[in-house]
Symmetry: D2
Subunit: 348 residues, 4 copies
């Protein structure tokens, strides 16, 4: 008897998160890609846009409105933010959707409007969407029709911070997140600042105190702390393709120290296949998770009394985007959560 | 009923080819790693040496002489050249071996001594070893006890050249190979020239007209041409971790042109899972094979009359080393050749 | 008495060659930048476009038609090819011009039209322009009003090849140029293929047998050989900002060998401040010329009988573009040729 | 009349800071290199060790004890820490010395012993040494015989922090320094962790809460605050050759905000040739100071109430090492401070 496969579509397959979904889903024993859309490339095979995906027996690229949705179980939506709201609002009602854009991550319409400069175009869906940080929101994801896949920075930041705030192990009003990301976090759009010569052999901060991932992080941390949380968040662009490292500076609550924080996290993530809390003294590196859905977390005592340093490393295209999306698919359809996600990191 | 698994050992598991074997074999449904050796690291877990390989339920590192060989079906040998001959000579007689060093690639003792400066220490094994360029030597590999896994440059060079020479489509006395490799081709040994600061933001040729992969290439081409072949071979070191591109300049035989060459190769590799001959006009890039066992080949007419340009791209650690070793294991044990080797390239 | 300074304008100052001219000219004791144009950025200071050029007391960016040419001695023209012809035709008659585009490099109108797909728009200037490969064309440059600054590949290729052809030391009909360039050779224009993620950690050939620098190289080699020369020329894109290495495969004429070729070059470039012929066995690296106007040349005997390998390394933005332009300015105005060009290479 | 030149020696010229000194000093109109030492390379020319420094008319490398010190005005000492104390103690009494190692940076013998694990071997010199952070300690440097050139991280951290602490504009007990450095900060010593393949395409923190630059930073900040200061300091290794970015999180004192901090810094560094305080909103990048002695500083209001973010970018080999050493030489000998240091940054 043949095993039934989920029939999935990828909307917006010509960007990096779309390509990474293809890489992961072709290794998934229970999923089958039945449609790939890319309006500007409709009529082309996918390997015209991504030669590394040649030879995979995939459907050709079509325009979004050419997709026949009958029999499609799930759509991954990989469009730029802003455009996504209307697109998803126009999909068939019964279709499950995992959206990799930022459009449904913020649940508060006012916060959305403040950071994105216009009212949300699908406020009903915005309320309905489940936030897809898998380890922290499984039950809601399992029941959801629409999952808002988290941003890469919010994933790396919340995985260590949420359990500590829920536990009361750290203070909520003194959280500083210094994050470093490879260039694919910015997508494939043409932008002078992303040319090789503008990134190679250098590092700089960007969006200082103004990056749109800050409210997303704060939303999750506020829920965890059960009070409004504001964070300091500074992303930096690194001369590398993939990888995200968050270095997080926190004030430890009375009665805790670095070892205590590590225990809280180790307990919380015990048995989790993709989150690893490192032993004392070990330092995570992005190259040690490259290509995998892993998140490595470490805790160090700071030299400043009463403070600790959290380190969190992911591959921004996998756990920070497409890998977590597949993980969410597995949860939504009752599959083993690691299906299609057992890639060993590729190093060097 | 449980499927029987091959029981394999990796001798010299603390280098890059050893680590890459672990990455590939843990995804192999019919192989199980039962021993990992690294004399300098005996007693440590593998993830002390390679943190990216944590969490994989692997045996610890032991000294070579602590391995119990009973029940081991195959040893991959990843030691530096020179040291390897005596080691393999000392392994149990019945054990199958795939050697990733250069020690058994040259079948002529005189050629070996000329290029390595001393007589071979295991001339019997040298005669016996099968050359492991899988697509071109399957029958011999299938029957072999000892397989000499090819070098990264010889793999990328011979895959396009051997069929053309066998066919008589190109001249044998005018072959120029300009090759570009990522740094992992040089292994993990400490060497000032391999420090980041000595490689980053630059390119240079090395071993000009004197690289030890030249006689290995010539051995294969001479057999293909049925006469002694000498090649021009110049490797270059690239500021990247992985990837190997060979740009090969050839003189076309009478009656052939670039399209004819492409047809010869397309026919020869028709149905091969890992070798792809690109359509006219397409250009291979190493980033499009990263992490996979693929070899992409393209043929262009040169502007110089009577000449053509061949391009051949691989991942030097996969098809150029550990991936081809796993492919050879599959052949030696009658398994489907693609088992454990279906990784989609990781791009970006 | 104050030393008179040349008053120079840079037309098209918002690209990499423009920025590099500013870097070099601000260190030039006899030149003063009096105008900088960039139509899209008119009204902005240069450091809005290039923050690394802040603090230099430079004129602001203006539109081309806002430049007052009275008293300007020289214009460097850094516009894209195609656009340049009309612009230069419209400049004041007495103004000296060094053009860094491709527009005036090919002296034969038919060759220009064949490679660029349209007739030249300023054929009179095309005939008049001197080809600015300084070491090989000083007298003509010194007398010229309009100098066509060579392309980066043609500079690296012709410096070793022209003296050898003029001497008859190599055969003219068997020249193969395999070149590797950093990304700045492609300029700052938006182009998906130049995004960091499309270049990092990989290498590929481009424009195989079809690159527009081929006819420029052939023009120079044909003059040197005194007969039509066709070359094989394959450029490759490297994951680095700067640097160009040409590996050139040649057939040696009867009576010559690699040492003989090296002597021809050493004699020809004896006393030249920017061209260095390395001792036998030394290998040039692009990182050893970074930021300088140097060209390093090496000669190796090939293993193929009767052949030799030439290596030529430059910084594509300096000797391959803006540095040679300044060198030409020095020649045109009778200044010491090294003025402003004494930068020691920056390594690492 | 010939201008008198300082006669300088470079002790330990085979490392990156030694090479960078040579690059800078050969452009210095008032300095002449009269001796270069490298015990392991004695008898070789410098360009055997650093090919990019060929053609510069330099003395050959000699062993330290072969240097004739008569007539030498100044020695730059570029040896590894630990070894340096005895070497400097053995130099002639009248010789001025600028030491680029860590050996004389900490003035408190107890602090030195705690961080370096052994008593200082030249405690008299330790007391005597002036700390060479030029902009902040000119008078003492001008009068010193021995200058301890600061570390790269301490330079980038103290330049923004010291004036703010002296002014009372920030709190002294809540300073968090997240720093990112290129690989040359680690020198040229052989170390597996500095191989290209171990650094490329990744980022990681190291020495978390335990790096030896922390006490050096704290020494300077304590003096500025006039009370003991402890800092949180976390360095990260970046896949790039040069450049250092410090992102510093501070609590603002009552009555101050980000604009106020920026004013304090702008006032303090007004007229300084090498320190630039950027306008509000501008973000420094390491690539914009590459090869230059500049330090770019920016101040941003944090979203966390009462906090601000400081950014400080340098080239770790120039302002973070050899450039500042030359600047100190200029101060010690009464020369214009910018002599030899007017390099425009090299971008891209």
């Amino acid at each position: 008897m043949a095993i039934d496969k989920l029939r999935v579509a990828i909307v917006g397959a010509s960007g990096y998160t779309g390509a990474e979904l293809v890489r992961l889903l072709t290794a998934h024993p229970r999923a089958e890609i039945v449609a790939l859309t890319a309006d500007r490339h409709a009529g082309e095979p996918l390997d015209a846009v991504f030669p590394h995906l040649a030879g995979l027996d995939l459907p050709g690229l079509v325009a979004l409105d050419a997709v026949g949705w009958d029999g499609v179980d799930l759509a991954f939506c990989c469009l730029p933010h802003g455009a996504t709201q209307e697109v998803i609002a126009g999909l068939p009602d019964g279709l499950k959707v995992i959206d990799l854009s930022a459009d449904f991550r913020l649940s508060d319409p006012e916060v959305y409007e403040r950071w994105y400069g216009r009212p949300h175009q699908a406020p009903g869906l915005q309320r309905e969407a489940a936030y897809g940080l898998t380890e922290l929101n499984r039950a809601e994801i399992a029941a959801a029709r629409l999952v808002a896949n988290p941003g890469c920075y919010p994933t790396a930041a919340q995985l260590p911070l949420v359990p500590l705030l829920e536990d009361g192990a750290i203070e909520a009003d003194d959280i500083i997140i210094d994050a470093k990301s490879g260039v694919t976090g910015a997508g494939r759009a043409l932008n002078e600042g992303m040319l090789y010569a503008e990134v190679g052999e250098g590092v700089h901060a960007y969006g200082v105190a103004a990056h749109r991932h800050a409210p997303e992080i704060e939303q999750g941390l506020s829920a965890a702390a059960n009070k409004p949380v504001v964070v300091s968040f500074t992303p930096h662009l690194m001369p590398m393709n993939r990888g995200l490292l968050a270095t997080i500076y926190v004030r430890v609550s009375a009665g805790y120290d670095a070892d205590g924080l590590r225990r809280v996290l180790a307990t919380r993530y015990d048995g989790e296949p993709f989150v690893r809390v490192l032993a004392a003294g070990a330092t995570p590196a992005t190259r040690h998770v490259r290509g995998s859905n892993l998140c490595l977390i470490a805790v160090f005592a700071d030299r400043l009394p009463g403070r600790a340093i959290l380190l969190s490393a992911t591959d921004n295209l996998v756990k920070g985007a497409s890998g977590q999306a597949v993980q969410n698919m597995n949860v939504m359809f009752g599959l083993a959560e690691t299906l299609g996600l057992d890639q060993v990191p590729t190093f060097p």
